[in-house]
C-alpha cells in the first residue's frame, strides 16, 4: 500500500518545462467548460499551479489570466506553492474534531514546526488540514501521501512520521 518514496523531482514536471502542459491542452481542445479538469491535470503533472504555467495555460486555452487565477483560488484543491516530499493531511471533519484533531495538529507542530499550509525548511513535509475524508470510524485520522493512519493519539504521531522521515535531520 502507498506510494514508493519517490522524490518530488521524480514525481512532478519542472515548472520551466511546458511540454506536459501542451499535452494536457491538446486533450481538452474544443471541450466546453473544461477549465477545472485542465487545472486538475496540470496540478497532477506539476504538483502545483505555477504562475508561469497559469499564464501559458491562459494563452494556450484562450482564457483571461484573471479567469484562470479566479478559478485556481476559489477551489481548495488547487495550490499555488510547491509541496514537500510528503503531504500530511490532517482530517478536521466533525468526527475527527470531537475526537481531538486539534491535538494531532499540535503534535505535528511540536515535531515538525509546521502548521496548516506550511512546508518544512528541508522540503520533506507539507502539512494541511482537510475537511472530512469520510472514514469517520477511524477518527482522528491523518493521511500521509496515500496511506491512512486512523485512531491516532497524539503520542502515535511521532511514530507514524518516522516512517517517512528518512534522514531528513529534523529535530528528534
Amino acid at each position: 500500500m502507498g506510494e514508493k518514496a519517490s522524490t518530488v523531482k521524480e514525481r512532478y514536471a519542472d515548472a520551466e518545462d511546458l511540454g506536459p502542459l501542451e499535452e494536457i491542452l491538446e486533450e481538452y481542445v474544443g471541450e466546453k467548460g473544461s477549465l477545472i479538469p485542465l487545472l486538475q491535470d496540470v496540478q497532477d503533472a506539476y504538483g502545483y499551479l505555477d504562475e508561469g504555467i497559469m499564464r501559458a495555460l491562459a494563452r494556450g486555452a484562450g482564457y483571461q489570466l484573471s479567469q484562470v487565477y479566479g478559478v485556481a483560488t476559489f477551489y481548495t484543491q488547487f495550490r499555488l506553492e510547491p509541496i514537500g516530499e510528503h503531504l500530511i493531511k490532517v482530517c478536521h471533519g466533525t468526527a475527527c474534531h470531537v475526537a481531538g484533531a486539534d491535538l494531532i495538529d499540535e503534535e505535528i507542530a511540536n515535531i515538525l514546526k509546521i502548521r496548516d499550509g506550511e512546508t518544512t525548511t528541508d522540503r520533506k513535509f507539507t502539512m494541511e488540514t482537510v475537511m472530512c475524508v469520510g472514514a469517520c470510524s477511524l477518527s482522528p485520522i491523518m493521511i500521509v501521501d496515500s496511506d491512512t493512519h486512523g485512531k491516532l493519539k497524539p503520542t502515535s504521531v511521532r511514530k507514524v512520521l518516522k516512517k517517512y522521515r528518512g534522514d531528513s535531520g529534523e529535530k528528534e
Partner: protein, 595 residues
C-alpha cells in the same frame, strides 16, 4: 452467492475498510488461498456498514448462510482460516454477526435496519457488472425504457412519495415533472455526489459499494425528464468512488446500457463524470452548475430555476446519489410498495452515518418513522464507553444539535425541522460529556465561514461576525450580551442570504443556544468549560497520588511548564502552560486532568 461449491470470502473493500488495513488483509488471504488448502474463493464488496469493525470478511456458504468476522489483521488470517475450515470452529471474539442467529454478536445492528438503498452494499462486488445484473440489476431501467412512457415513470416515482435525500426533501416526482414539462429539446441530468458535510459518507459508500444502482437510477431519470446527457459531479476527495464509477460506466457502454439506442430502444443516454475541486458551496445546485461550466462555483438567485434554465442555460434536473439509488427499486417494485414504508409525509428509508462518540460508527439505513433513540441506541449501540449521551448533531453545518429530551423525535422531514435541526444528507454525530457544545457551534461556523463563497454580504460578513463572537466566548472573553447578539445576527443571516449555505449556517448556533444555553452561560458568566475542551477556560493539574514521576509529560511539554524530581509527583505551572493537552495524552497513569 457462492462460487463453484466453494465458500465465498467477501472482503469489505471500501474506503473505510482500506483505511483500516484491508489491503494487507487481502494480500494475506490471497496468499493463504493460493496454497490450495481451503475450498474458498475471495471476492470484494463495498462497505457493509460495520465501519467500526473493519477490516471485515464475510464467509458465505453455498446454502447462503454466512458469518461475518471483523477486526482482521494479516496475522489473524491464517488462524482464522484454519479454525473455520480445518477445526470447524468459530473464533467468537472476532465474530461480528452470523446469519443463523441474529441475536449473536452484533446482529442487532443489521436486524434493526431496513435496506433498500444499501441492499447491495457489502453483498456484491461493485466492480463486477455481472454480479449487479445477477441480482436483477438493470431490469428496472429496461422495464422503464421498453414498457413505460416517461410520464408513467414520473407518476410511479410520485406515488412512491420519494423526497430529495440531499437534505431539502423536495418531492422527486414533482421535480422530475417540472423538468419534463420545461421547454427545450436539450436537457441535462446531474447527479449530485459532492458530499460536502463533514461527518457524512453515505453517498461515498453507495458509490463505492453499488455504483451501478446510481447509474441505473440516472438512466431512468434521464428517460423520464427527457435528458440524453447526464453528469455525475463527484468530490475529487473520493478517488475510489471515482474509479468504480468510471469502471461501471465503461462496462455499461460495453453492454449497450449507455450510449446510442440503449437496451435496444430508440433512447440514447450518456454519462460524464465531473470531479469537484473542493468547494462546499458547490453542493448548492446553481453553484454546481457554474462549476460544471468551468467557473467559480458561486450560486445565483432563483428563479429561474434549473428546471427551466440550468446547465448551459438548458433545463436541468439535479438529484442526490441516495435519491437516485432508490429509483431502480421503486420502478421494479412499484411506487405504492415503497410508500408502505415510512411516515405520512416521509416515505421509504434514510441512510445515516453514525459517527462521533457512538459505539458502532458506521452506515445504517432505517425506515422513516424510527425515533432518533432507536437509530442511536438500537442500531448504533449507544454512546462510546458507556458515557452519558449529550447531543446528536444532524445535518452537518446546516443542521443542529439535539439534546436527549428530543431523542424520541422521529426520522421525518417535518418532525426534525420542527426541532431546529434538519434531516440533512444523513450525518449523525453523537456528542457525549467530553464534547463542548459552544466549541462545536464554533467549529461549524468556522467551516461555513471559510466555505462562504463571498458573493452576498449577509453570509460573507455575517458568518464572520458570528464566528468572532463564538471564538471570543471560547477564549473566555465572552460578554453577557453575546448570546442575544448571536441570535439577532443569526435571524438576519437566515433571512437575507442568497443561498442555503448562508440561510442555514446559523442553525448549529441557534440549536445549541436553544438546547444548551447553560453551556454558553458557563463560558460567559462563570468562566468555565465543563466539558474541559476550551483551552482558555481550563487548568491542567497532575494528581499527586497517581503520578509516578516518570517524566513523560515533562518531556513532551513544548513550553517546559512541567517540573518535578524523578519518581516524585510532577507539577504544572499554570502561568507557563498553554493548555495544548499533549501531556494529558502522554501520561501512562492518566494522572493529568483538566478542570
Amino acid at each position: 452467492m457462492s462460487g463453484n461449491g466453494k465458500t465465498k470470502l467477501v472482503l469489505g473493500y471500501g474506503t473505510c475498510g482500506i483505511a483500516a488495513g484491508a489491503t494487507a488483509v487481502k494480500e494475506a488471504l490471497e496468499e493463504e488461498l493460493a496454497t490450495g488448502k481451503y475450498p474458498a474463493v475471495l471476492d470484494i464488496a463495498g462497505c457493509m456498514g460495520f465501519c467500526y469493525r473493519e477490516p471485515i470478511v464475510e464467509f458465505v456458504e453455498t446454502d447462503g448462510s454466512s458469518i461475518v468476522y471483523g477486526d482482521l489483521t494479516p496475522k489473524k488470517v491464517p488462524e482464522l482460516l484454519e479454525a473455520y475450515f480445518i477445526e470447524k470452529k468459530i473464533v467468537e471474539d472476532m465474530v461480528v454477526c452470523r446469519s443463523d442467529d441474529p441475536s449473536f454478536g452484533e446482529g442487532d445492528f443489521t436486524e434493526n435496519q431496513h435496506r433498500i438503498v444499501l441492499r447491495h452494499c457489502g453483498n456484491i462486488n461493485p466492480e463486477s457488472m455481472d454480479e449487479y445484473i445477477s441480482t436483477g440489476g438493470y431490469e428496472a431501467a429496461r422495464k422503464a425504457l421498453s414498457y413505460m412512457t416517461p410520464e408513467e415513470v414520473i407518476d410511479e416515482v410520485g406515488k412512491s412519495g420519494l423526497r430529495g435525500r440531499g437534505g431539502a426533501g423536495f418531492p422527486t416526482g414533482t421535480k422530475w415533472g417540472f423538468a419534463r414539462k420545461a421547454k427545450g429539446e436539450e436537457k441535462y441530468l446531474i447527479c449530485n455526489a459532492d458530499e460536502g458535510d463533514p461527518g457524512a459518507f453515505m453517498d461515498r459508500s453507495v458509490l463505492e459499494g453499488d455504483p451501478h444502482a446510481v447509474i441505473e437510477g440516472m438512466i431512468i431519470a434521464g428517460y423520464a425528464i427527457g435528458a440524453k446527457n447526464g453528469y455525475i459531479y463527484c468530490r475529487a476527495e473520493y478517488p475510489l468512488a471515482l474509479d468504480r464509477l468510471e469502471k461501471a460506466i465503461e462496462d455499461c457502454h460495453g453492454k449497450g446500457f449507455l450510449g446510442k439506442s440503449i437496451f435496444g430502444t430508440e433512447w440514447d443516454f450518456e454519462i460524464k463524470i465531473k470531479k469537484g475541486a473542493g468547494a462546499f458551496v458547490c453542493g448548492e445546485e446553481t453553484a454546481m452548475i457554474a462549476s460544471i461550466e468551468g467557473k467559480r462555483g458561486m450560486p445565483r438567485p432563483r428563479p429561474p430555476f434549473p428546471a427551466n434554465e440550468g446547465l448551459w442555460g438548458k433545463p436541468t434536473n439535479i438529484n442526490n446519489v441516495e435519491t437516485l439509488a432508490n429509483i431502480p427499486w421503486i420502478v421494479e417494485n412499484g411506487g405504492e410498495k415503497y410508500a408502505e414504508v415510512g411516515t405520512e409525509k416521509s416515505k421509504g428509508t434514510k441512510v445515516f452515518c453514525l459517527a462521533g462518540k457512538v459505539s458502532r460508527c458506521g452506515l445504517a439505513e432505517v425506515p422513516m418513522g424510527y425515533t432518533l433513540r432507536q437509530v442511536i441506541f438500537d442500531v448504533g449501540g449507544g454512546v462510546l464507553e458507556g458515557r452519558d449521551f449529550k447531543a446528536v448533531q444532524m445535518g452537518g453545518p446546516s443542521g443542529g444539535c439535539l439534546p436527549d429530551e428530543l431523542l424520541d423525535t422521529i426520522v421525518d422531514y417535518e418532525a426534525i425541522t420542527a426541532t431546529g435541526a434538519i434531516m440533512g444528507s444523513g450525518g449523525m454525530i453523537v456528542a457525549d460529556s467530553t464534547t463542548c457544545m459552544v466549541d462545536l457551534a464554533r467549529y461549524f461556523l468556522a467551516f461555513t465561514q471559510a466555505e462562504s463563497c463571498g458573493k452576498c454580504v449577509p453570509c460573507r460578513l455575517g458568518t464572520k461576525r458570528m464566528l468572532e463572537i463564538l471564538t471570543r466566548i471560547c477564549e473566555g472573553k465572552g460578554k453577557p450580551e453575546d448570546m442575544e447578539n448571536l441570535e439577532t445576527l443569526a435571524a438576519d443571516i437566515k433571512d437575507s442570504s442568497l443561498c442555503a449555505l448562508g440561510g442555514t449556517a446559523p442553525n448549529p448556533v441557534l440549536t445549541t443556544l436553544k438546547y444548551f444555553r447553560n453551556e454558553y452561560e458557563d463560558h460567559i458568566l462563570r468562566g468555565k468549560c465543563t466539558a474541559g475542551v476550551c483551552p482558555a477556560l481550563i487548568t491542567l493539574y497532575i494528581d499527586a497520588d497517581t503520578c509516578t514521576g516518570c517524566g513523560a509529560c515533562a518531556k513532551v511539554c513544548p513550553v517546559e511548564a512541567i517540573s518535578g524530581e524523578k519518581k516524585e509527583p510532577h507539577e504544572i505551572d499554570p502561568e507557563l502552560c498553554i493548555r495544548c493537552k499533549l501531556c494529558l495524552s502522554r501520561c501512562p497513569e492518566e494522572a493529568i486532568y483538566a478542570e
